[in-house]
């Protein structure tokens, strides 16, 4: 068994540098790597490119890096919940590459899988297709999309073991599994770290081979973006 545990988030983030490209899991604020984001803020790494479906909110998630102007470029599908983001983008301080959500996920998965390029119909006929190869398959137009390249992927799982195997919970899964193994180094933070042999090998969502470093995170806030409830009838 190959051990992937590191003692804490500081050790997990060893090697991060200015101007690197990071992938960060999460959808909205659900399933984001809270501990790693806090460490990126603490280290004040600058000029980074972030591949993440969303950009957090003003005071949480990637919004924390935006506040400190650490991000040079965002590659996302939806960034509508963040006023500071909009300000930096409209003023030109922040580069933004908006791409379809399914294409974002598939470009991560392609990087994980050693597939350098693939065809998708998403974005054909729109500005997303500009400068991209267009081709017809089965009577339908498609555009060619490339696998991402990133230096670090930061993901959050529910449980993990010392071999780096991961299990996610609910819709906090989202982009996290697709980003594992899609960057040079994948750092996984988990709510509960257990010894190898504890998890059922049938129920592992991401095998440890896709993870280089794993640690148990602390003080998860898990903020809810839109609390919607029913009254008991």
């Amino acid at each position: 068994m190959i051990t992937k545990t590191v003692s804490n988030v500081q050790e997990a983030c060893e090697g991060i540098q200015d101007r690197m490209t990071f992938m960060l899991g999460g959808f909205g604020l659900s399933g984001i790597p809270e501990n790693c984001i806090a460490e990126l803020v603490r280290r004040n790494v600058k000029g980074v490119t972030c591949i993440s479906n969303n950009a957090g909110v003003d005071d949480f998630g990637l919004g924390l890096l935006l506040q400190k102007k650490q991000i040079k470029k965002m590659i996302s599908s939806y960034v509508g919940e963040n006023a500071e983001f909009e300000r930096q983008m409209l003023s030109g301080e922040l580069e933004v590459d908006l791409i379809p959500q399914g294409t974002l996920a598939q470009r991560c998965l392609a990087a994980q899988s050693g597939i350098p390029a693939f065809f998708t119909p998403a974005g054909y006929g729109t500005e997303v297709a500009e400068g991209k190869e267009v081709r017809e398959f089965n009577g339908k137009m498609h555009i060619m999309e490339r696998a991402f390249k990133a230096d670090f992927a930061f993901v959050k799982a529910w449980k993990g073991d010392t071999a780096g195997n991961l299990i996610f919970k609910g819709t906090a899964r989202n982009f996290n599994p697709n980003m594992c193994g899609a960057a040079t180094i994948t750092v996984a933070e988990v709510e509960e770290l257990v010894p190898a042999g504890t998890l059922d090998p049938n129920q592992v969502h991401i095998p440890g081979i896709f993870v280089q470093r794993i640690f148990q995170g602390t003080a998860y806030e898990k903020r809810i973006e839109q609390l919607t409830v029913r009254k008991r009838g």
Partner: protein
Amino acid sequence: MGLDKNQIAQRIAKEVKSGYYVNLGIGIPTLVANFVRDDIEVEFQSENGILGMGPFPFEGEEDPDLINAGKQTITALPGASFFDSATSFSMIRGQHVDLTILGAMEVSQNGDIANWKIPGKMVKGMGGAMDLVASAENIIVAMMHTNRAGESKLLKTCSLPLTGVHCVKKVVTDLAVMEIRDNAFHLLERAPGVSVEFIKNATEGDLIVAGDIPEMQF
């Protein structure tokens, strides 16, 4: 005069057939779930990674690890499953989702749709909408017939950056149900009390009116 958002949703709910997997966009489409008949076998997919989405949780039972694509807390029904984003878009891109209902800022008579960007003003991003409209064979747009300035949102040509081309088959607004084919809006139904003339005036694109146009049934 004209329908309110709940009535638009109610009318669209009639388009949901038994056995359908349905993806609901943010806004009016979300309301459709409230009006689907109980005897219809249907499952709602949310592209952030759930199939078998249920209603909002009871107070105190919300779970930050269980949300929909609008980031709202939700529940999972029996038979539900959770999955990653790539798998979610396999369902969408692979045409396993039977019906997509989404909002729009503009729709053109050739089926183009614009709903993600107002240059220089509003740039929220397309989220999953571009994948949905490029892939779905069955797309219904739910929207108000005109914008706040009273201008038609059903156009000859979209003026805003497109989300997808030649993809919208049906539009349900506060005024009418229309089918898009042969480069025109074909009027199928009127909202109760709304005249064909009124709909014509509110539609910038070509509106084809063939025969008597019935009022919507709910």
